[in-house]
Symmetry: C2
Subunit: 235 residues, 2 copies
């Protein structure tokens, strides 16, 4: 809830959204931001809420999910520190199309939507940076759309794990631990399958020495073999 403490402009400077903006301007932009904290599993906002704030994650992880009409849930993506989210709703003036949940202890900066629009008029670079962020995100969705449209479940799970590893992987001596609480159900909702199929797949991979999985936790033992699974073109 507090206005930025410490050295606000420097905090912003390392974030993509604010690249190529002078420290002087960042100071003014930072003045309009408020800081929020959330505990693990707390909701930041719900799908359908009016979109009021433009958010940038500072620490922690945020999960963005969408509920289908018949009650199924899917995970759209995980947000990492430095990334902006809730950009879409603010810009298109519609309710939040997703639900945001704190995966762990989260701290974020946010701007009131109208204020952010003013700032973009004042500092066009801010709008242009947002554009390239959204552009990248569209491309990611196009890729995932292609994947889910053309690929088998096993490969999609492999890709999901690799993506997670690159975002939140922690290197251990025997492999890469995906360092968030991650259920089979979560993986299923990311890849468009069922928790049963995920469980079977992980069991098989465990036998093959590809991964080691515990409750709500996966460690990749052989990234290389997983990449082969994800990329290999021999059907």
């Amino acid at each position: 809830m507090a206005i930025l403490a410490g050295n606000p402009a420097h905090l912003l400077a390392s974030i993509d959204l604010f690249s190529q903006i002078s420290l002087h301007d960042l100071d003014k932009i930072a003045l309009n931001a408020t800081q929020h904290e959330y505990k693990k599993n707390e909701y930041l906002f719900h799908q359908g809420d009016p979109a009021r704030r433009f958010c940038v994650l500072v620490t922690g992880k945020v999960k963005l999910t969408q509920l289908t009409e018949d009650g199924q849930q899917i995970i759209l993506r995980y947000v990492s520190p430095g990334e902006a989210f809730a950009v879409i709703a603010v810009l298109s003036k519609i309710p939040y199309p997703v639900t945001a949940t704190a995966v762990n202890q989260v701290s974020l900066l946010s701007w009131e939507d109208q204020k952010m629009l003013e700032l973009m008029h004042q500092y066009p670079q801010l709008a242009i940076n947002s554009l390239s962020i959204l552009a990248t995100r569209i491309q990611e969705f196009q890729d995932r759309f292609r994947e889910i449209a053309t690929e088998r479940v096993e490969r999609r799970i492999a890709r999901a794990l690799l993506r997670l590893a690159s975002q939140t992987g922690r290197k251990l001596e025997h492999g890469i631990l995906i360092d968030i609480s991650l259920t089979r159900q979560d993986l299923a909702e990311m890849t468009g399958t069922t928790l049963y199929t995920v469980s079977r797949t992980l069991s098989q991979w465990e036998k093959d020495g590809l991964v080691s999985s515990q409750r709500e936790q996966v460690t990749i033992l052989s990234p290389h073999k997983l990449v082969v699974l994800a990329e290999d073109m021999s059907r």
Copy 2:
């Protein structure tokens, strides 16, 4: 290839990308645009080409496709007049991630990428408009991602037809004609299935009086029943 003839600023004024920009400014923006024409089935650019131009479709339809590593093709979307495309590549400074094909006779306006960036700095509203366009597009992709991840083929085909009808539908006395050349293969590439399944589905729908399909052409006879198929929640 010609610089805009006729009344350039007015031509732009009705396009989303240029909303809330004064005619005076539009005149200057128009000065930097060039106009191109393409014949049916001609390629505007290929996936992998360096991205140089920011395009707005004036007349006709453009199909955006993506090729997978193993040679499968998917259709990402159809572009209608007034819509911008190739936005992503220019903004993120990567090669075109898609191939653009003229579905019929096409005329478009384009701006050189560097020039468009300058214009966005000069007229921030231009960047902000682009943002809300991209925001809408991401949402569309999120929705389609959810669909393809959670829904059965029949429903996905129903949705695809309804979307096409709203974009390029021509009202006839007995139904809505989807007014572009549209093969079973095309529908399959839009919905992540095979042309065989599309063919079977359309055959069944034809028996049920939902649609009437000929070669490369589909007419929706009962939009209402199709909506029920697309939206009905009883599994």
